[in-house]
């Protein structure tokens, strides 16, 4: 099994290599307006996280995940599970596809351990960490910003905590999820990140949207 798949740690040493997050260019070219005093809408990037796509049967993947990560697959479509400290999450994307998000430096170790547990099962694990990024949206007007952007029903009473969907965002697509009461998360493809960022700033302007200062995209 080990040599039937090319398992490859392509993450560089962030101490010696200059890494740039998907929004680095946008922060530079579109600016980072400070949030209004009320902070009705605030965006921020959580860069350099580990994003792994898991493909396979739910039962074997659930077992392996519980063993390796301590959390299982979400039981229902369009939902996610988050671990106790909120650092690791698994989200349903399709009946045979899940998105695993973990701290960036855990990515390769996690893939290796999962593969070891999965043995000869027919699964695919794909590292897409550099291909997408996570944008956080907070504030009381966050869902209104989203109403201007996505066709999905984001009424906080309907889009409850623990829900996550892939849907339309303006003229592109995002993975949209709500890990807790106060936060929305948008997972966007790298090449579309600038468009999504500019759209969010525009849609949020009437609510005094700004960018969280910690979004400095330094390596973690």
């Amino acid at each position: 099994m080990s040599n039937s798949i090319h398992v490859y740690d392509a993450r560089a040493d962030h101490a010696t290599v200059n890494a740039e997050s998907p929004l680095a260019y946008s922060f530079q070219s579109s600016g980072m307006p400070a949030p209004g005093e009320e902070g009705r809408a605030v965006v921020g990037e959580r860069a350099f996280l580990g994003h792994l796509i898991l493909r396979g049967g739910a039962i074997v993947l659930d077992e392996a995940l519980r063993e390796v990560l301590g959390i299982g697959l979400p039981g229902r479509p369009n939902s996610l599970t988050v671990d106790a400290d909120g650092q690791r999450s698994v989200q349903w994307l399709s009946p045979d596809e899940w998105l695993l998000i973990v701290p960036g430096d855990e990515t390769f170790g996690l893939e290796t351990r999962l593969r070891a547990h999965l043995g000869g099962s027919h699964v695919a694990i794909v590292d897409v960490s550099a291909g997408q990024t996570l944008i956080e949206l907070t504030g009381e007007a966050a869902h209104e910003v989203l109403m201007k952007s996505t066709v999905y029903d984001v009424d906080p009473h309907e889009f409850t905590v623990g829900k996550g969907v892939t849907t339309i965002f303006a003229k592109t697509s995002v993975i949209l999820r709500r890990p807790d009461e106060s936060r929305w998360e948008l997972i966007v493809r790298r090449s579309f990140a600038d468009y999504v960022y500019r759209w969010l700033l525009d849609a949020g302007e009437e609510y005094g949207i700004g960018v969280a200062r910690e979004s400095r995209h330094e390596p973690q």
Partner: protein, 130 residues
């Protein structure tokens, strides 16, 4: 703008998330090389265009990326069912005949076009039965 129930996501989603992929249940011939040119041409190019019940394949493109099937009334645009790839429809053309019969009294007052619709539906059912 359709509202489509994705059988994999198990909820209604907006049409913008989907791509229509044409008529459903077009199986690729098992042995292409044994097909005549005409048979292969039929498989490649010829599709039904019924007035009434139609089985269509759709893709939840911005969503779970799964293909699935829809039974749709091409007159009213009503979606009568959606079902997973590999499953068979439970609603066919005879369903429409029942619906039209019960509403034909009302439809007759509505004018020529509506009456025409029900005639066509009945005719297509007759064709299916023959």
């Amino acid at each position: 703008m359709f509202h489509i129930y994705c059988p994999y996501c198990e909820e209604l989603r907006e049409e913008e998330e989907f791509h229509p992929k044409g008529q459903a249940h077009i199986a690729r011939p098992e042995e292409p090389d044994a097909c005549s040119d005409e048979e292969w041409g039929d498989y490649l190019f010829f599709r039904d265009n019924p007035r009434g019940i139609h089985h269509e394949m759709w893709l939840h493109a911005v969503g779970c990326r799964k293909f699935f099937n829809i039974t749709r009334n091409t007159v009213s645009y009503e979606i009568l069912e959606t079902y997973k790839m590999g499953e068979q429809p439970t609603v066919g053309a005879e369903h429409l005949a029942r619906e039209e019969k019960t509403s034909s009294v009302q439809a007759a007052e509505g004018g020529q076009q509506t009456v025409g619709a029900s005639d066509a539906a009945l005719a297509s059912v007759k064709g299916a039965q023959a």
